[in-house]
Symmetry: C2
Subunit: 256 residues, 2 copies
């Protein structure tokens, strides 16, 4: 691992630990995945963008569950209070409010039936497996690893800004209202990421815990990357859609 200093047993300084997290982001965050380049550069058809939104819904759906799983594990009321804001961000205060509802607004804007998407039955198995792995990681690993796995949010704002600009410029079937989910994330992600980073730097007090936190962030990058691998495989070259998954060409019959 390139971040390891000469003495691999020595505790890293807060600055070195943060630098190690940022190095993971530079090399493994899904901003660098070729599918995102295609998405943002306007290389995809509407059906392919639908496939992305439908599958990414599985990830959105798991977020409030993994956040609740984290809250359920700690006696630290401050951490619980802090993390509860994430639940509120995603689930809102009433039906139709919050991030998950805004993702379904995107779904509707792309011409898909939200009920079909919500059922997740047409999602790629590989995407569902990756999202479940994330939920289980947060529920089962140490608390500092669970928090560290959220640190992909450190890298999210740049990606989201590129996405909004690229999709608005390149797709006539997308407008600012369709993409309102991402506007909210531009504010929420930095606030959450700073707090989570501060928590991990305080709580990872041994080199072993620091290495575990770095590995947790790397794992989370693997989850996001695997989601795009599955999308890029199934929906870019022809003939690769797995049996039973969403097929843009057959979507009228499948979704009816």
């Amino acid at each position: 691992m390139t971040h390891a200093p000469a003495d691999a047993d020595a505790r890293m300084s807060p600055e070195a630990l943060e630098a190690a997290f940022r190095e993971v982001g530079n090399t493994r965050y899904h901003a660098h995945h070729p599918f995102h380049a295609r998405l943002h550069n306007g290389e995809l058809t509407k059906g392919q963008v639908q496939a992305w939104a439908l599958n990414r819904y599985c990830y959105q759906a798991v977020i409030p569950r993994k956040d609740a799983a984290l809250i359920a594990r700690t006696d630290d009321a401050e951490l619980r209070r802090h993390w509860r804001r994430r639940l509120a961000d995603h689930d809102g205060d009433h039906a139709g409010d919050g991030g998950l509802a805004r993702w379904l607004h995107l779904i509707r804007g792309l011409g898909l039936d939200p009920e079909i998407v919500r059922a997740q039955t047409l999602a790629l198995p590989g995407v569902r497996f990756a999202c479940e792995a994330y939920l289980r990681f947060v529920a089962e690993r140490s608390l500092v690893e669970a928090v560290a796995s959220s640190l992909t949010e450190l890298f999210a704002p740049a990606l989201i800004s590129d996405r909004i600009a690229g999709m608005l410029r390149n797709y006539d079937f997308v407008d600012a209202d369709t993409l309102v989910y991402f506007d909210a994330r531009l504010n929420e992600a930095p606030r959450d990421a700073e707090a989570a980073l501060s928590y991990v730097i305080r709580q990872a007090v041994t080199r072993e815990q620091q290495d575990a936190a770095i590995a947790a962030l790397s794992f989370k990058c693997d989850v996001l990357w695997a989601i795009l691998d599955a999308l890029d495989y199934a929906y870019v070259a022809p003939g690769n859609i797995p049996p039973g998954a969403f097929d843009p060409a057959a979507s009228r019959a499948q979704l009816g």
Copy 2:
């Protein structure tokens, strides 16, 4: 679902249930995946075959764990005794014996270091997530669904026979000794599949349980398919290997 009769609430006959399982196999079993055609037809390089064996090890490694998880869940001593044969098949009676050791024999025959493969750190995240999903399914779903998820073995012998013949014919770096794992499976799989099929037909006594059993087999096909999706994406076209995963071109440095 094409197997559903006009009266979707009516219990299916044993023959209809078996036919429904076989229909799942005809449409979703990974024998039909394009990666298997490439593997058997000699279209892959040695490095690509190494990538297949290294990643498939994750699946092999999860099999005795999912079998033990199933045994742990039942008070039926007959089922436990029967299922224990699977544990013995995979783990053997001493170090170097059993299916897992035979898979590592294949690994060695392909020129890979068994210790590197056993650590699973170079495996594709998508493959690991799929294997973990299978383990959790068996540990968490109803017993009849857990048993039904093993019914892919009904379809294994034809695939294995094709594999042995194709790989021996098409790859000069493979011989009969390398492939000894598959010889044993040709005997074990039919014996296990018949017993599991008989169990599911006896225990799935409502239409709801029968439908759940069919869905369990379909889920298992999704697991196997997703493993090959990940391999086909990462290792057939250039430029798609995820960060940190096995790279045949760099394997000397990576494996050293």
